[in-house]
Each structure stands twice: as C-alpha cells, then as structure tokens.
C-alpha cells in the first residue's frame, strides 16, 4: 500500500526544467532517503509533494487520494508534516509554544501539553522548553524543527536535510530517533550525510537533473555505477 505516489510530476521555472516527469512511490511505514547532488531538484520535488510549489504538470497521490489541487495546509491536515531545510522556527516565541502550535492543530486541552512534552523529550530539548526559540543554538533549533514535526504525529514525515549543522552526538541521537519512529511513521528524508542515509533508510531514491536516476537499498545504491558517477564520485 503506497502512502505517497507521484505520476509525471514536473516543474519548470521560466523554461528551466527543475523536475522532469517523476514517478515516485513510497510504501507505508518505510524510511526512504532522497539523495542527489546540489541542484538536482530535491527541494522542488518535495515542495510539490507538500504543496509549497505548484507543479507544472503531473499528479500527487496521498493515501490513495489525488491531492494535486489541495493547498499546503490541507495536505498537512491529512497527515503530512514538513520540517524546513532552512531553520524556520518562531524565534520570538517560547520553545513550548513552537511545538504547541504544531500540536494544537489536531489536539485540544491537556493533550496538547502532553504532546508537547513528549515531542520535546524525544529530541532531548526538555530542559530548553521555556527558552525563546531564537535563543537556542543552531543545532537545537534544528531539533526543535523535528519536534514540531513529531508533535503533528504525521503519517508521512518529510525531513528536509535535518542533520545539517548538528554535532556528531546530536546526529547519533537523530539516527536513534528515526529508527524509533520507523514502522509507525513513514519518513521521507532528504539528506546529504551518507552515514545517516546508510544507517537509517530502508530504501534510497537518487535524483539527478530532476529525474529519478536510481532506486534501491542503501547497499545497492552505494554499488550502483551510475549513481557513483553522478553523485558519490563527485561528492
């Protein structure tokens, strides 16, 4: 059962083809990594999936329904969550309020407080709960992004380069977190750090020049000559 499928999804900016006819399938419960060189169109593809970018052509299906015409907020309400590549927390609001905003969309009353505390505990930010988000270190702000994603308890969690700027220790914790979530939550992980990809992903899709170049298990991808030429060899 696919939770997410795209068919012929394309986007061009002023005639420049960023993503070309991508057919992408993500089964429920899988942790999928999306990799590719800079400018391969990863963020554009994900942007079309969660509704931030309108596709030039093609379709997006979520849980068996065509959501191509839905605005972003309606897609989120159906169980997607997206964490921003460029840290985009509410800097002047407390950490708890940041997470509560995410939780409040589906919960009410005391359940909100519990969900907030739970999400913060899972990313290890419980001690920072009452700080203003802007006072957190960069790495902690990245973790807060992830906590906001968790508090939505999504069926599909899209993480856009979550480990960028994290320390070694934080990356190790992140890997543990993803493995805990795996099974309940489908995860689409855009990631540059190949160690993280190899250790967390069930399968890997490689995007190059806006097209899916290869798909397979981490081991298959590592040994794929075309991928090496396009990406690993140069990266």
């Amino acid at each position: 059962m696919m939770i997410l499928s795209t068919r012929g999804l394309s986007k061009s900016f002023d005639g420049l083809q960023a993503v070309t006819k991508v057919d992408f399938d993500l089964p429920k419960g899988e942790v999928r990594a999306l990799i590719g060189p800079n400018g391969a169109g990863k963020t554009t593809l994900v942007g079309m999936i969660c509704g931030r970018i309108e596709p030039t052509s093609g379709h997006v299906q979520f849980d068996g329904e065509d959501i191509t015409r839905l605005p972003a907020h309606a897609r989120i309400m159906r169980g997607m969550a997206y964490t921003f590549q460029i840290t985009s927390v509410f800097a002047r609001l407390p950490v708890t309020e940041n997470v509560a905003l995410a939780a409040r969309r589906r919960l009410s009353g005391d359940a909100i407080d519990r969900a907030v505390a739970d999400a913060l505990a899972r990313v290890g930010l419980s001690n920072e709960a009452h700080e203003d988000a802007g006072n957190l270190s960069y790495g902690h702000q990245r973790l807060l992004e992830i906590a906001m994603g968790l508090a939505q308890s999504p069926r599909l969690l899209i993480l856009d380069e979550p480990t960028q700027g994290l320390s070694e220790g934080e990356i190790a914790d992140f890997k543990t977190l993803v493995r805990e979530l795996a099974g309940d939550t489908t995860i689409l992980l855009i990631e540059h750090n190949m160690d993280v990809v190899m250790e967390t992903a069930d399968r890997v899709s490689v995007l190059n020049f806006g097209e899916i170049l290869a798909e397979g298990t981490p081991t298959e991808i590592r040994e794929n000559a075309a991928v090496q030429a396009a990406y690993l060899g140069t990266g």
Binding site: C50, A72, H73, I76, M77, S88, V89, F90, L101, R104
Partner: protein
Amino acid sequence: MTASSRVIVLHLGLLALLFGLQFILPAYHHGNLARIMVLASYAVGYNILFGYTGLLSLGHALFFAAGMYGMGLTIQHMGFTPAPALIVGIVAGAFVAGALALLALRTVGVSFMIVTLMFAQAGYLTVLYFGEYTRGDEGFVIQQAQRVLWGVDLSNATNRYFAAWGLFSVSFGLSLWLVRSSFGRTLIAIRENEERVRMLGYDTYKHKLTAMIISGTISAAAGAFYGLLFGYAGASFASVQYSIFPLLWVLLGGAGTVLGPFVGTLFMFYLIDLSSGITSAYLLIAGLALVLLTLFAPQGLIGEIRRRFWKNLP
C-alpha cells in the same frame, strides 16, 4: 498567584479603576476619559490586526467611518433609534472590513499598506461626494433627542462615561480573551512567520481574514459609539488622519500588547491636550511622535515593560 491569574487581575484591575475614576474625576478629565475610552476601543481593534497579526493597515478610518455613518445616517435620514442604528453601524463596519480584506489580503507588506490607504481614501472621498446626505467636511449633528438609548440620555456626561466604559470593557475583554485563545496564538504565529504556520496545517488566509473582520468590527463599533456619544458625524473621521491615529496610539502604547492601545491613546490624548496651550498645530506632535517612536522605541511603552519586567504579559 499563577502567572495567568496575575495577568487577569491586572487587566480587570484597569477596568475597575476606570469604572471607579468617574466618581472622583473633575468634569474636564471625566469628559476626556470618556472620549479616550471610545478612541482606545478603536485602537484595541486596530491592534488586533497590526499588533497581533502583523498586518499594518493604513485604512482603518474606513471602518471607523463605516460605523459612524452607518449609525449616523440611519438616525438622521431614516429616523432610526440609537440601538438599531448602532447595530447598522457595526454590521456596516464588519461588511466593509470583509470586503476590503478580500481584496487587500491578496497583497502583503508595503502593497497591503498602500492598498488599504487607497481604499480608505476612496471611502473618504465618497463621503464628500455624497455631501447631500453626509454634509461633507461640515458634518451633521445628532440631536440630543435622537441620542436616547432605552430611555438613557447619552448626552448626559455620567451616562456617556458609562457607555464609553461599557464599550471599552467589551472590546478590551474580547481582545484579552482572543489573544490567549488558540486562534489568537495562531495569529501571533502568523505575525512571526506566516509560511511556517501554513506548513503546520493552518489556513493562514482564513485566519487573517477573520482577524481583519474582527478588527474592523471593533473599529466600527468605536466609530458608531463616538458619533452617538458626542453627537456628531463628519468627514474628517474618514480621512487618512484617522487611519494614522490608531497606528500612532498603538505604536506608542505597545503593539501586540493588550494594555498598549489604552495606554497609548491616554498618553497621546494628554500630550496633545497639554501642548495645545503652546501650539494649535497638534498634528506636529503626532508627526514627531511617529518619527521618534519608529526611531527609538518600536516596542512602545507596554512593550518595553514586557521586555524588561514581565515577559508573559499578553
């Protein structure tokens, strides 16, 4: 006492203080305070859109005037009594705010400011254009006999103070409740980072639309009460100055604080009142205040208190 109940006590305390003041104030200040409370209600409405939602409107005079003329014209030309006339004014304001929101919310930032400015200006000119009914700049007086609400003569100073206090209490209380509700918290988040709010699953457009209608409706209520309590409706209340005033009051008191609009209105009113002994060009004071606030105190008075002493003040 918890932080939350301290906040409630502080805000209810202001209302109680204002209620009590009517028994001890000399007539001159008694009259001033009635006026200030109505104008502060206008500022409270403005603050919901500007302070909490982050949308800087330069056209709120349109809503204030919609309330004032919705009330005034129905009394003057259709023989309405005050109660239905007030309702017409408030509904007119809500309607105008909704219509302008549908247009203006297609824009952001500077465009939003200019669009609201232009439509409000068109509204002002429309008041002048229909001078036959509105009497244009000269305006029209609402006679004492027309200002009796349920047997209460609103031209009487005591009754007027009480009505102004009632209006202010309702808008002030509504504002306090709103910004502590989850809807209000979402508005604040929209002010901070709209795109992020959208990607948390909120329909930010609907939130902004609702905020603008609430803001416009409170402004219209203030306009309707102002006309009724002080017995006059004139085109100057629709002019760009009356769009700038609530901005000035809210900036001075502290945008995005519940107390700010009242504090700002109070200070500005007495600043102009005191300076009128020196110069009749009171707009000079307003201009200087705008420039100085922008340069040196963008947080305003209450905003500064919140920053230094009371972090959880709503």
